[in-house]
């Protein structure tokens, strides 16, 4: 398939199908074709059990047990080894989950730096500068040297976003990124996402239950029974 025939896209799937085998064999994803363009802010919605989270984890490259084809940033990821996929995630994908999953023994700054240190593209000093820049962008610079356990829920989620951004990923994936936040912090996080997409051309895919969050995003993909219905 000649990908250049389409307008520039970051993520592309072709007939992704997945089965669950426990407790019974069950087809959870049915030939999903999805293309996400650069700078898009996409909400993935649907009822519980419709397969939206499952699709997200296939797209995240962490779930490799599927049929069909997955391509991100022009790289075909189907059939790559776990180690190759880990290195790919490090460079190209940022994650924001419902819970912040910050490492409790490390400071805010260290948490943000870890993926960049893993990438090893910049020196330690440069990584630190970049981490400060990301924290500043999210209004968290003054908390840089605090342990993450001393931050509020909203602050922790902002640090998690800074961490997702540190390697300038091609795509940010969120699994209920506002699911654990109050309405004020939900607004804050939404505004950050919107700014990222509109100002910095960041691509974001977020699974959400929050209808308002979804409605305000650029594009809604709704799933039902393993199909994309909208």
């Amino acid at each position: 398939m000649n990908t250049t025939a389409f307008e520039p896209h970051v993520l592309h799937t072709h007939k992704i199908t997945k089965y669950f085998y426990e407790p019974d064999k069950f087809q959870v994803l049915k030939e999903i074709d999805l293309t996400v363009h650069k700078g898009e802010f996409l909400s993935l919605v649907g009822k519980s059990g419709c397969g939206k989270s499952t699709l997200m984890y296939v797209l995240s490259t962490m779930d490799t047990d599927y049929e069909g084809e997955l391509e991100i940033a022009g790289v075909r990821l189907t059939d790559k080894t776990q180690n190759e996929l880990a290195a790919f995630r490090n460079k190209h994908i940022g994650f924001v989950f419902q819970f912040h999953y910050l490492l409790p023994e490390f400071t805010t700054l260290q948490n943000v730096m870890i993926p960049a240190l893993k990438l090893g593209k910049y020196s330690r000093k440069e990584v630190e500068d970049r981490a400060y820049a990301k924290l500043e962008m999210l209004g968290m610079k003054e908390h840089a040297l605090k342990p993450t356990s001393k931050l509020s829920g909203g602050q922790q989620q902002r640090v998690a976003i800074a961490r997702a951004l540190i390697n300038d990923p091609d795509i940010i994936m969120g699994d209920e990124p506002t699911g654990n936040l109050d309405s004020y912090n939900t607004h804050v996080v939404f505004d950050i996402f919107q700014e990222l997409t509109h100002t910095y051309k960041q691509t974001i895919i977020a699974v959400t239950h929050d209808e308002e969050f979804a409605r305000k995003s650029d594009r809604i993909v709704e799933m039902s029974d393993g199909h994309i219905v909208r």
Binding site: S53, Y57, S60, M62, D63, Q82, N83, A86, A87, F88, R89, N90, K91, F95, F97, Q98, F99, Y101, L103, P104, E105, F106, I114, P115, L117, K118, L119, R163, D175
Partner: protein, 414 residues
């Protein structure tokens, strides 16, 4: 790699109590290993040294009690012969051509010293009491080369024996029993009834009761005179080898060549050496048990840590850490625990060894010993640290591998 080390270090530092407990397990194991092995090998070396002083590497003598084929067996070869209770022949313990044999053996490049000698049972007369013992007729200078007699002299010098034709150097225990000291004269009686007065020119102490309480040294010619034998009379040849471990393989050759019994030191001291083997087995089995217990401690603590850090592991994997990186994080932790724990163990083991070395210990009449002999050979410290680190590596491997196999989706999906 540096990041992985940073994370491992942070994990260790953030839970100091857990880390220290895991380390103490290893420390205790290695410390006990060092203390035990130091004492046991110290004892082993001590007894080995004693056997070395009491027996030559190879001892050639005429074994008159050795069973010999009966006349009827020589005549009727292969037949059914029965001879009950055959007595030994009336033979003297003399080695024929002893000096020629000694000269031949001296030419063997594996040999560093050869000393012909005469040994005989004698009675030491102490007033009306007769103490049984033995006397060794030796060339004292040659004998010194084999047994380092000079260092064992408590009174007098070995050269005094050379100068005194009727002199003897007496074992300390024997001298004490006879209430005799250097310069005194003692009367000895041979089994054949010949009596002679000899002058004590020195006192030695080997440290082994079975020698010090019965033995005296005299010149070869003196003993030949006592036994009323000619000046070629020799009953034993003692041999010192360059490598004493070769004794067992060289001895049978001499026995075949010269037709006399050649006994190596290992055979002569089998009971002592069995003791050594048992002590070694004991030391290593106790130490290995302690280390396995320490290993289980580390296994447990790492398992618990990994269970507590499931979320961290999942997010690290999501952010691009490969299974290998996660495994390294936890392996580094167990190796650091193992290494530092072992180092502390070596220090504690060394301290315990120093204490043991100062503890008074009465060896009694049998062995002259006032403190425990302790071995400070660095070899065992190296074994200890290798042992400790290897055990922790094994103990850490399984939990680390489990951590590397954690599926992040199961945890992140909640």
């Amino acid at each position: 790699m540096r990041l992985v080390i940073d994370i491992a270090r942070t994990h260790l530092i953030s839970k100091p109590r857990q880390t220290i407990i895991a380390m103490l397990g290893v420390t205790f194991g290695i410390g006990m290993f060092i203390a035990m092995v130091s004492l046991m090998t110290g004892l082993n070396n001590f007894t080995e040294e004693l056997t070395m002083t009491s027996s030559p590497d190879i001892h050639i003598y005429h074994d008159v009690t050795e069973s010999r084929p009966s006349v009827i067996e020589q005549v009727n070869v292969g037949g059914i012969n029965k001879v009950h209770h055959q007595k030994p022949k009336n033979e003297t313990p003399r080695l024929r051509n002893a000096h020629q044999i000694a000269a031949l053996i001296r030419r063997d490049p594996r040999v560093t010293g050869v000393a012909p000698s005469i040994s005989s049972q004698v009675f030491y007369n102490y007033g009306p009491v007769q103490l049984s013992g033995n006397i060794l007729g030796v060339d004292i200078i040659e004998e010194d080369k084999l047994f380092e007699l000079r260092e064992k002299m408590k009174e007098g010098r070995i050269e005094d024996l050379k100068a005194n034709h009727d002199g003897i150097i007496m074992g300390r225990g024997l001298a004490r029993k006879l209430n005799a000291r250097t310069g005194d004269r003692v009367v000895i009686t041979t089994p054949q009834g010949y009596t002679m007065t000899l002058k004590i020119v020195g006192v030695f102490q080997m440290g082994l009761g079975s020698i010090d309480n019965v033995r005296s040294y005299a010149n070869l010619s003196t003993v030949q005179t006592i036994l009323q034998q000619d000046h070629l009379y020799v009953t034993d040849i003692n041999i010192k080898l360059k490598d004493l471990l070769l004794a067992k393989s060289i001895a049978p050759g001499y026995q075949r060549m010269y037709g006399y019994k050649a006994e190596d030191w290992e055979t002569a001291n089998a009971t002592f050496l069995t003791g050594n083997i048992i002590r070694n087995i004991l030391t290593y089995s106790v130490s290995i048990t302690l280390l396995i217990v320490a290993g289980f401690g580390i296994y447990n603590i790492l398992n618990m840590t990994i269970y507590n850090k499931m979320k961290d592991i999942a997010i690290l994997k999501a952010m691009g850490f490969a299974g290998r990186d996660v495994k390294q994080i936890f392996m580094i932790q167990s190796l650091v625990i193992g290494f530092i724990g072992s180092l502390l163990g070596l220090a504690i083991g060394y301290g315990l060894s120093l204490l043991i070395a100062q503890a008074p210990f009465n060896g009694g009449d049998f062995i002259s010993l006032d403190h425990f002999p302790v071995n400070f050979d660095p070899k065992y410290y190296i074994i200890g640290i290798v042992f400790g680190v290897t055990t922790t590596a094994f103990a850490g491997y399984m939990p680390s591998r489990k951590a590397s196999k954690i599926d992040p989706i199961e945890i992140l999906r909640g």
